[in-house]
Amino acid sequence: MSVTPPAGGGPEGGAAPSSTVASRLSTNLKLGGIIAPLLTVVLAFFVGGLVVLITGHNPFDTYKAIFEGTGLQWLFPWTTGADRTRAAINLQQTLILTTPLILVGLAVAYAFRAGLFNIGGQGQYAVGAIVAVWVGSSFAGMPHLLHVVLTMALATLAGAVWAGIAGLLRAATGANEVITTIMLNYIALWLGFYLFQLHGPLQNDTQPDVPISNDVVPSAKLHVFWGDPELQGLHIGIFIALAAAVVYWVLLNRSTKGYEARAVGFNPEAARYSGIKVGRTYVLVMGTCGGLAGLAGSMDILGWQFHLATNDLQASTIGFLGIAVALLGRNTALGTCLAALLFGALVNGTSVRNLDPAVFDPELAGNLTTIIQGLVILFVSADLLIVWLLTRGRRRRTAPATGGAGETIEVTA
């Protein structure tokens, strides 16, 4: 018998006495099992289809074209010949996008489990990418393995420190991590602008008129194991991300640190009473989350981007996609991986390069991804409502017509 199934037990979760929105959310997210997230996705695609219809296009053709753009048909044995070659290339791109999404998703998920809302994935990813591009473009001639590991480690550390600041502020002063992580996102963004702008300290040595970093040297690049390394084949980062998901599962469900994080997430007061250092747990959890997001930044830099422009920093929305991934994945290891694949596929399938303009204008299709992303978040929130409605058969709202507060009592006594 296992003590803690990753997705949590049945709907008897009860009313957690926890104080923050994030911890209530994480409690509710455990409920509903696998059905609710699937329904969420179906509903989001359905409403997305209505949007396509309104724009005067055929939703079925559009979704079919998007699916073909993801390369997922490579998994079907009947895809052969030139189709299969094209599908392989597309799938490589999908998985390249999935890699950082897994890591950033985990960075949000672990925080949720500890009752924290990490909106700072974006900034943590950015500092990871900045450090990766800096270390990766320096030290030419270092042995390959050492250079890669060193770069990844420093990027992870940078992300951990970045998020650790928010954890420390929460622990020491009670400053809400939602606010501090958002602020840290801006600081990271402008730090990047400063570094890579024209005449910035890390701006490109050979192109003085482009706000871009130096290129990562070959010894720091991640190995490409599928596809053409010159044409952005799939790098080994996907395995690093999957390994991180396994580590996350063990950390959360089998380690003392994860146990402390969950106890703090559910009931910080009881955790404190039993001797768990709540403040230190906040710092450690945020540090771990930041490390995961920072690692994600190095994956992209060392795997396929190889340099960082100020535009890249501004255009990236990975921190927010990561929130959607964690929410949809119910903060579980497996769920996060699957949700990351969904969003990775969606982003790739709707990209300008992959979508046939005759079926649906790719410019619009990019927006469709954003719409579906928004719908997923909306429906995840809505299915929390559904879960709440389902469980209220047990727990009746006692607020009569005169009532105000949402107190509940046990009617089963």
Partner: protein, 522 residues
């Protein structure tokens, strides 16, 4: 709504009658053919253990749960109560254990909420205040209409709830465990209020599991056990033992006879407090120079009215709150300023005052909850083997007689008594030198209380030092070897367990003890 005109014999005197109410939740039968007759102008106690179905029955009456079978008659006429609104229309008012008040609003604003007097689309504050004052005078329940609910005592908040029900025209008032949150003094005041309402013709259902209250307050009592009616009797002529037998279904030892503690005076005291000062959250002195000692093999009770510094004193000893001056020593070692973990490691166990918020992580299952204070010891290389926790949990659940729970059950689905047993199992199994037991039986029924008392005495006899904090004088006298009385943050005197409630009560309110603030060191 079905109105029939065939009142049964004697129905004219009945304000409320329940006939054969059955309510199922899935496979669980919460009420099984329960009947109850509430006479007009009586106080009727509904007595039963936790989980006997009292609250379910009343939620049926108040329209929050539809009965599967059975009939509700109000004033002799069968009615359908589909919602609290229906219930109110029939003159049924309910006061919940957890108040439905908005803390930031004033008493008057809370009282009119849901039926606000309006003037030009806005709340007519003057009318609300007037209505509150009128009600307050009519029923003799003193409240200050302009006080913010957050600033008034729990007892006063309860009055606001009662007044609100009366304001909505309640002739039948249901109170769900109204004394669970009250001090002894407030309970006495509530009793007076209820008698006044009875004199004015209001019929009252009083849900409780406390036997002495039934005898004090109620005219008649209906006892429920495992969802069934055991019977209804007059309280005149009944005693606690007979009520307990009806309620539990066997003879219950209400007060355990204990041998005097076997204290080894040759050893240094387990716990020593030396002139300890602690401030509360607002920075005001809460513990004002407490010195005391507890030896291995004795139970020392700290008795006092709630809010006289007990919580801050507990927190200080357990390392949860800073000590502003003074020293705390455990087995001779200075532990002043320890954090909670260091205090635990030093040998302090703590049965927290509030099991749901501090004692348990309700979303954790029982094996995880039982590991809360020593999961580190179950781990190797920072990893916990779930099997180890489960095996340990199975053993403890068995030893501490936690019913309806397996290691994988979430703590939230246990009854209060079983939750408390889980907390006690965890704290005792850590084998602390000093066990702090704060309100260890709050909200428990007599059967569970008996278990907790026996267990605490067994731990005492096994040589543990126990510091008991309790608001229940009977519990204090029945368990303690020595009673220290705390008043305004000071220990004002020491009494033997043979002291009467009057002696204790006098000292607890600042009277009695020669010299008032004498600091007694045993």
């Amino acid at each position: 709504m079905t109105e029939q005109s065939s009142p049964s014999a004697g129905a004219a005197e009945l304000a409320l009658e329940l006939r054969g109410i059955t309510k199922r939740f899935g496979a669980v039968v919460a009420n099984d053919g329960v009947s109850l007759q509430l006479r007009r102008g009586e106080i009727h106690a509904l007595l039963g253990e936790n989980g006997a179905g009292k609250s379910t029955l009343m939620s049926v009456v108040y329209g929050m749960a539809a009965p599967d079978e059975g009939q509700i008659l109000i004033d002799g006429a069968p009615v359908t109560v589909a919602s609290p609104k229906d219930a109110m229309a029939h003159g049924v008012g309910m006061v919940f254990q957890h108040f439905m008040l908005i803390p930031v609003m004033t008493v008057a604003e809370n009282l009119v909420l849901g039926a606000e007097p309006r003037k030009g689309g806005l709340l007519d504050v003057a009318a609300a205040r007037r209505r509150t004052r009128e009600l307050s005078e009519r029923y003799g329940l003193r409240v200050d209409p302009d006080a913010r609910v957050a600033d008034i005592s729990v007892g006063q908040q309860q009055r606001v709830e009662i007044l609100r029900a009366l304001d909505r025209g309640a002739r039948i008032l249901v109170l769900d465990e109204p004394t669970a949150v009250l001090t002894a003094q407030e309970t006495a005041e509530l009793t007076e209020v209820l008698r006044g309402l009875r004199a004015g013709g209001t019929s009252i259902v009083f849900i409780t599991h406390k036997l002495n209250e039934v005898l004090d307050v109620a005219d008649r009592v209906t006892v429920l056990r495992r969802g069934k009616t055991v019977g209804t009797i007059d309280t005149a002529g009944a005693d606690e033992a007979s009520l307990a037998r009806m309620m539990v279904g066997r003879d219950v030892v209400l007060r355990i006879d204990k041998a005097p503690g076997n204290i080894d005076r040759s050893q240094a005291p387990t716990l020593e407090l030396d002139d300890v000062h602690v401030v509360d959250d607002r920075g005001l002195p809460a513990v004002d120079g407490v010195s005391l000692e507890v030896r291995a093999g004795e139970i020392v009770a700290v008795a006092g009215i709630d809010g006289n510094g007990q919580s801050q004193l507990i927190d200080a000893i357990a390392g949860l709150r800073a000590v502003s001056s003074g020293h705390i020593r455990l087995r001779g070692r200075d532990i002043t300023g320890c954090n909670p973990l260091e205090a635990r490691d030093a040998g302090i166990g703590h049965i927290a005052e509030d099991r749901q918020h501090r004692g348990l992580v309700l979303d954790f299952n029982l094996s995880e909850n039982l590991a809360l204070s020593d999961y580190r010891r179950a781990a190797r290389f920072g990893l916990i083997k779930p099997g180890v926790l489960v095996a340990r949990a199975r053993r403890l659940l068995e030893e501490f007689d936690v019913r309806d729970g397996s290691p994988g059950t979430p703590a939230s689905s246990l009854s209060g008594g079983n939750q408390q047993k889980v907390v006690i199992a965890r704290e005792i199994s850590a084998e602390p030198d000093l066990l702090i037991a704060a309100q260890p039986t709050r909200g428990l029924d007599v059967g569970a209380i008996e278990f907790v008392h026996r267990r605490l005495l067994a731990e005492r006899d096994a040589g543990r030092a126990i510091l008991l904090f309790s608001l229940e004088l009977d519990e204090v006298r029945s368990l303690a070897d020595r009673i220290l009385v705390i008043y305004e943050g000071r220990i004002v005197g020491e009494l033997p367990p043979t002291a009467t409630n009057e002696e204790l009560g006098l000292m607890m309110t600042g009277g009695g003890a020669a010299g008032g603030g004498a600091r007694t060191v045993a």
